[in-house]
Every structure is written in C-alpha cells, then in structure tokens.
Symmetry: C2
Subunit: 305 residues, 2 copies
C-alpha cells in the first residue's frame, strides 16, 4: 500500500515557473527573431512574479507570458465568497498568456493555469485555453478542439464537454452578442477531495499547461507566411478592439486585478499593440469577415462539424 | 406675483435635441470637410435617439454626438438606489459627446448633459465637460477652466470649486494613478426643490451645453495646424489607450449602458479610431510626455497656476 505524496503549493508554483520557462523558450524558437524581456516584481503584500513580454517578433507582434506566486491577507470579498468569518491568508500562483500575432491569419491565443489555497485549508485549481482567430477556419477549429479534448479525455471523459461549454459562456461578449473567438476549455474551483484527487487534478492542469506550446507553435508555423492585404489587417485591428472590450469590460480576472491594486502592467500584458474602432462596422454579406462573425456563437460542435 | 412656469421633460428633451443640432453644425463648420452621419434608433422598451458620427474629418478623426430620450420600467437597481419599493417608470434624456482629433496637439473632449425623471416624481440633472489633452499646455488648461468657472459663477459661486473637484475624482484612472486629463466640471443628482429651482438648474445645464461648441472650436482653430511628428502621434495613440481603459473599466455610464443592454454602437461612440498599448512605456525624463504625466493629478488649481 502506498500513500499519495503530498502536493504542496511550492511544488505547484515550481511547476508553473518552469512551465513559463519552457513556453517562452518554445515560443522564441518558433518565432525566430523575437526575444522575451523579463520584469521580476514583488508584491507589497507578499510574493511576486516574473512578467515576460515579447514585442516586434517575427510572428508575435506583442505577447506576454506571466508567472506569479503571491500571498497575503484575503480580501473581505474573498472571505465572504468562501463563507469565512475570520481573517485568513491566501496563496495564489499561476501562468497567464496572451499572444497577439502580426499576421491576421494567425489566431490570438490565451492560456491560464492557476492554483489557489487558503490558510484555512481550502484549495482549488482553475485555468483554460481559448483561441481567437481573426478569421475562423473550420478545420483549424476542429484540430484545436480535438487536441484539447484529447488532453481532457486522458483525465476524465466528462471534462471536455463540461469545460468547453464553460468556455463558451465565459469568453462571451454580451454587449456584442458574440463569443470572443472559437472558445476552448475553461474550468475553475476544481477542489480536491483528498491527496490522490489533488494529484489527479494537478496532473490535468499540468497537461493543459504542457499542451499550450504545441498548439500555438503549430498555428505559428502553419500560418505565419499566409498572404494578407490591408483588408485582412483592418479586420484584425477591429477584432482586437473586441478583445480589448472583453478583457476590460467582462473578464473577471482583469477586473479583479485592476480593482484590487494588482500590478497593472502585468495584468494589461493582454492588451494588443494596436486596436481600432469603426462606428457600426458591418462586413459585406457572404464575405470571409461575415462568415467569421456567423461562427462567433456558443454551443458550436467544432469537432463534429 | 408670477408663478414659475413648469419645466416639463418634453421641454428639456427638446432643448437637448436642438443642442445636438447646433453643436453638430458648429463642429462641421469648424472642421471644414467632415460631415456627421446620423443613425436614428428606437429603444425596444421605449423612446430612442439620434447617434451622429463624424469620421475622417479635417480636424476630427472620429467623433460622436448622441442625443437620446428613453423611457420604460426602472430596473431593480434603480428602484433600490431611490428607495422605491414599488415598480416605477423612468425617463432619461441627454446629449453625450466624445471627439478624437487627428492632430495630437488638439485635445480630446467629452461633454454630457442629462436629465432623469421618475414616474414617482423624483427628478434631477447631471452632466459635465472634461478635456484630455495629449500634451498638457498650462495656458490652455487655464483658459478652459476659467471658461467653465465663468459659466458656473453665473449660476452659483460654489459650483465651480465643487464640480471641478467632482470631475477630478470622477475622471480618475485608479489602476494608473492618473487623471484622464485636466478634468473640468462634473455634477450629478442636482435635484430641484421647487419649480423656480428647477428652472435655475435647467438654465445652468443649458449654459453648460451651450459653452461646449465655443470651447472646442477654439481649440480646433488654435491647434489644428500645429506641427507634429511620429513621436507625438505615437504618444497620442498611447493616451487614447488610457482613454479606452477609463471608459471601459471605470466610467459608470459606459458600464451601466453595456450591462443593461443599451445600444452598444451609441455607447461606444466614445472609442477612439485607433489606440495602442506598449508594455510598461516610460517617457524620457524631462520630456514633454513626462511633463504631461506629471500634470495628470487631482487638485491642480489650473486657474491660479
């Protein structure tokens, strides 16, 4: 009989820190010319992080890969959410990524994996990966979702359907009645029931983190040299405007960070290098742009399409 | 003995509609080549508006002047704010303006005048004007604030100090620890105590609306031909990024509109044509950009400076 080994918050933070290293290396290799610049920072209340930004690369126009491990007194709102009546400390660690490519035929991507632990004992994992193509290509969307499903299926046959639906609902822009992109997976509050379960959840989160680089470098290699004109560039800039709208108006993580005095430059690494707005822009009927808009809906079965 | 004539919501809405006409005409004349395009719209719950947008003008790169007069059932949140326990209808009318100029030496400007009335009888005025220069010029800031103070002083000697301070606090970006620009005046919940008081408040709001065109056409004429280089243009695009951050993250009106299913394109007429983000941008010490940043603070006495 073996005892499940204890997964400590240090073990998890260490994995995330190495994940950041491996992802940055894979992205630099795939990009060719771009290099990440690192800012190490400390949080006044405890802990800190390493923000890495790549600007003006061969493929990536602006991208951020952030790692953080912070701790301190939980806010009143957090205590209330957890039904805690006494002060308590929190610990939070994770990796967050948003990459904006230069070529409009390469999609925007976002990934986050995170772990949260209270001094009172509660702890949980969260995360997700979602893709925002400027132009939706069905076979790419199918490959992306199939790859995520494969990862999910290795851990729980129910995960993909559940987390795909969660992503559809989370990455949604109500005031535009559009999804941000073609979704992906999103999960939160995955709470272990015991140490063996915690090890299983951690293994899942590790797999999600590990599949990020293969997914995105695939799209970088496949689409980096696809031709585009001013038309596609203009559309990309408008879609980036929607990305800004989602992140600043609706994204819980961004709002929470900005409202609780987080490190602004690290939180807003997700902003595109440039975004445009045109009043009441309407793509031409039957255009590629219109076809993309028609696919920015919840509950599309990308794999079975 | 005379009785104060009754100021009806129709009277106020009619003034606002004509104000929109007069402002658009003054802006077109000052711009030279730009023309407003109008979208008339109806609100499913009652009322509607006229959104007017000018794009690619001689001075104005993108600007919106909106009028609306809407009514319907008050939301639960509104009822709660007003301590009302029974369902009630609201009526709201106003003019909202944001103008983004082409030349970085011309400031961004915002103006809003509004009137709100409940079927239960409560009613109040609100509004304001604030200026966001890409480069703060002390004498222009002084003239702007002095012009607003002159308008305020005609109605109440306490108004300017009170409403200037309110603007400093309202047009503030906490996550940047910067004001949006050099402020101006902001006021809300100006509730009439009787009909004579209502006439006085309406007269003040009319004066605020009427001073907008003289103020902005002054800056258009004065600065439209000032020389600028790529450096000033880049700085303008970064400052527009801050404008986007304020409007989408902090502006109560924008958030309320987007969260309550308002007409998105009218609400987001305030978005700039283009905005840029650079990770952790730091202007050079003693540069004009750094000097501008040093002036984006609350409680600067622009007139006495």
């Amino acid at each position: 009989m073996t005892t499940a080994s204890v997964i400590t918050k240090e073990t998890i933070a260490h994995f995330f820190m190495e994940l950041q290293d491996r992802i940055c290396q894979a992205l630099e290799t795939a990009d060719g010319s771009g290099r990440f610049r690192e800012d190490a920072w400390e949080r006044p209340g405890g802990g800190g992080g390493r923000s890495r930004v790549l600007s003006d690369g061969g493929v990536i126009e602006k991208g951020g890969v952030g790692f953080s491990a912070v701790q301190g007194e939980a806010t009143a709102a957090t205590l209330k959410t957890l039904n805690l009546t006494e002060p308590a400390n929190f610990f939070a660690t994770g990796v967050s990524i948003v990459l904006h490519p230069r070529n409009p035929m390469v999609p925007i991507i976002h990934m986050n994996v995170r772990y949260f632990e209270m001094s009172t004992g509660q702890n949980w994992f969260g995360g997700g990966i979602d893709l925002t193509p400027h132009y939706v290509v069905d076979e790419d969307a199918k490959w992306f979702h199939h790859t995520l499903k494969t990862v999910c299926d290795r851990h729980d046959p129910a995960y993909y359907a559940q987390f795909k639906s969660w992503a559809d609902n989370y990455f949604y822009i109500p005031h535009r009645q559009e999804t941000r992109g073609i979704g992906g997976i999103f999960f939160d509050y995955l709470k272990p029931s015991d140490e063996a379960h915690k090890a299983a959840l951690f293994a899942f989160v590790q797999d999600v983190g590990n599949v990020f680089a293969p997914i995105y470098t695939h799209f970088m290699a496949q689409n980096r040299n696809l031709p585009f004109s001013e038309r596609e560039k203009n559309w990309q800039l408008l879609r980036r405007g929607r990305y800004v709208e989602f992140n600043l108006v609706w994204d819980r993580g961004t709002k929470f960070g900005l409202e609780t005095n987080g490190r602004t430059e690290s939180i807003l690494m997700s902003m595109p290098p440039q975004a445009n707005w045109v009043y009441d822009y309407q793509p031409e009927p039957d255009s590629a742009e219109q076809q993309t808009l028609s696919r920015l809906k919840k509950d599309i079965d990308w794999i079975g399409r």
